[in-house]
């Protein structure tokens, strides 16, 4: 397999949706501690809408690249919130990187992580250390770029992203939030993991899991 077609890309996003859904109570609890407890619901609703929209689009014979802007819009319209515009920008940025008339080259899939990071950074204007999802997406994006430069394959790139994102997530514990809802807590946000960073790790892990499944399915 060299390209992911629309059905395969949808399958990948379905796995993200499933993993986010499973973690939704836990993400809600993380958000409850320093925010408003809705992050689990919001992410779950958002990715559920993404899957519904992609299934519909894939049935109409579009190419995988076209699913990215579709995902962005459906995520945004299903959730609004802070994460809606952020992940909408993430998907739209990825949509710019991949050709809507083409399927997605497997080798380039990890670039989604870089695009997500750029889109989120551009829309949210957070800086590293602000205790946001960017503290997971940023290290992950850098890890992908580095791995690609070292000639790693796509699964290995995502492995590197996952490791970096997980470290980033853990690092948020020691940060005092300075943007978003948790910023109002001041010092009280210390010691808590940022929920957006936690969901970022789950997304990356699910992408890696989905890609590995697809490649394995093909191999066997």
């Amino acid at each position: 397999m060299t390209n992911l077609n629309a059905t395969q890309m949808t399958e990948l996003l379905r796995i993200v949706s499933m993993r986010i859904d499973e973690a939704s109570a836990e993400l809600g609890a993380l958000d409850g501690a320093i925010g408003d407890a809705d992050h689990g619901n919001t992410m779950a609703r958002g990715f559920a809408a993404v899957v519904t929209a992609c299934v519909e689009a894939a049935n109409q014979d579009v190419k995988a690249g076209a699913l990215l802007p579709i995902s962005g819009r459906s995520f945004l319209n299903a959730v609004g919130a802070t994460t809606g515009p952020l992940y909408a920008s993430a998907f739209l940025r990825a949509g710019q990187a991949f050709d809507a008339q083409q399927d997605i080259p497997v080798d380039r899939l990890p670039e989604m992580v870089v695009c997500f990071c750029d889109g989120i950074a551009q829309r949210g204007k957070a800086t590293p250390g602000d205790k946001t999802m960017l503290d997971a997406w940023g290290p992950a994006a850098r890890a992908v770029t580095e791995a690609q430069q070292n000639g790693a394959g796509p699964v290995a790139c995502l492995d590197a992203a996952l490791e970096a994102a997980s470290e980033g997530r853990e690092a948020t514990r020691a940060m005092v939030a300075s943007v978003g809802r948790a910023a109002r807590l001041g010092e009280r946000s210390l010691g808590h993991v940022d929920p957006g960073a936690a969901s970022a790790v789950i997304i990356i892990a699910a992408l890696r899991e989905g890609l590995a499944n697809l490649l394995q399915g093909e191999a066997s």
Partner: protein, 340 residues
């Protein structure tokens, strides 16, 4: 934590269905979305349109402040989640009367991003939009960072003032200026006895001990800035009022409007016990209370807790506050009104 609901995921849509039916004389659906309501007798040609909104879970916020003399449309997101741009844009189109629109909403990153996007989209259609972002929650940042504070129950005052100005045919710029002044004159602080529980998980967001309360909470169940032992009503009232007065710095003879707001789960008797103390204290300070609002005006689902809001008044704000309006949550008769 029992609830009379059908499916948790449907509560926002179903309750909007219900309120459109119950308030048929006042409210109508905004075409093209299920998440926005508009005033039947509000928008008119040549009048600035007032569009308000935010997450759901704040009943009667935001829909309850839509009607003649107040907001023209309200847009509601999921529970505690800002609405996406599309329904905001739909509401903007629906209530636009060629005099421009004023968006008013609380200062939360999600609301700012989504309303900003909607404003850009509206501008692209030739609709002029100005925005006033409320920041009344004094617990949420120090005074020198007022711009990063949350917007909470004090919203009600800002909606009322802006709606009156628009009803009096003020220009978009004038509406924006007076709404911003109302927002700058409004100070709120809240406390919670229990954390909120979202309807889907029914889990408390955080733990508060059986004899503790949380001071400086937001209206989305956000934890407060500190926790302390629960105190008597009079002391709780003092605690909120003292913080507000120390920032507002009123002098004898100043006039204020007062809102003693239930965050959803605090019963009426408790609110009036607080109202008694706050009124007594303000009297002792020589501060005149032009209006006192008591009740669940801006809630956080059914959280046990209250907030206290004061708006410092001047003659213009008084005139606008007293201007007639007719919405599901707020009715002002104007002239007819007996006394002060």
């Amino acid at each position: 934590d029992k609830k009379l609901i059908n499916e948790a995921r449907d509560i926002v849509d179903e309750s909007i269905d219900g309120l459109l039916l119950a308030h048929e004389p006042l409210l109508a659906k905004v075409p093209g979305t299920h998440r926005a309501v508009m005033a039947r007798n509000g928008p008119r040609s040549g009048k600035v349109g007032i569009v308000i909104g935010g997450g759901s879970g704040h009943d009667p916020g935001f829909w309850g402040y839509v009607g003649q003399g107040c907001a023209d449309a309200a847009v509601m997101g999921n529970i505690f989640a800002a609405p996406p741009p599309d329904p905001i844009l739909a509401a903007s189109r629906a209530v636009h009367g060629d005099a421009g629109l004023l968006y008013i909403y609380g200062n939360f990153s999600g609301d700012v991003m989504n309303f900003d996007m909607a404003a850009e989209m509206a501008a692209a259609e030739g609709i002029r939009v100005r925005q006033v972002v409320t920041t009344d929650d004094i617990a949420s940042s120090p005074p020198d960072a007022r711009g990063s504070r949350r917007g909470v129950a004090g919203n009600v005052f800002v909606f009322k003032i802006a709606g009156a100005a628009a009803d009096l045919n003020a220009s978009l710029e004038a509406c924006e200026i007076v709404a911003r002044r109302a927002a700058d004159c409004t100070y709120t602080m809240g406390l919670a006895l229990e954390p909120v529980r979202l309807p889907d998980t029914r889990q408390p967001s955080y733990e508060v001990g059986p004899d503790e309360m949380e001071i400086g909470v937001g209206i989305h169940g956000e934890p407060g800035v500190m926790r302390q032992k629960i105190v008597k009503a009079d002391d709780a009232a003092d605690l909120l009022l003292d913080r507000i007065l120390s920032e507002m710095a009123p002098v004898r003879g100043d006039r204020v409007a007062l809102l003693i707001n239930s965050l959803g789960g605090t019963q009426t008797m408790e609110l009036y016990i607080l109202a008694r103390r706050v009124r007594q204290r303000l009297k002792a300070h020589g501060i005149g209370v032009h209006r006192t609002f008591v009740g669940p005006y801006f809630t956080s689902l059914d959280m046990k807790g209250v907030s206290l809001s004061l708006m410092k008044l001047d003659d213009e704000l008084i005139t606008l506050l007293d201007h007639p309006c007719h919405t599901p949550a707020l009715t002002e008769l104007g002239e007819q009104k007996g006394g002060k």
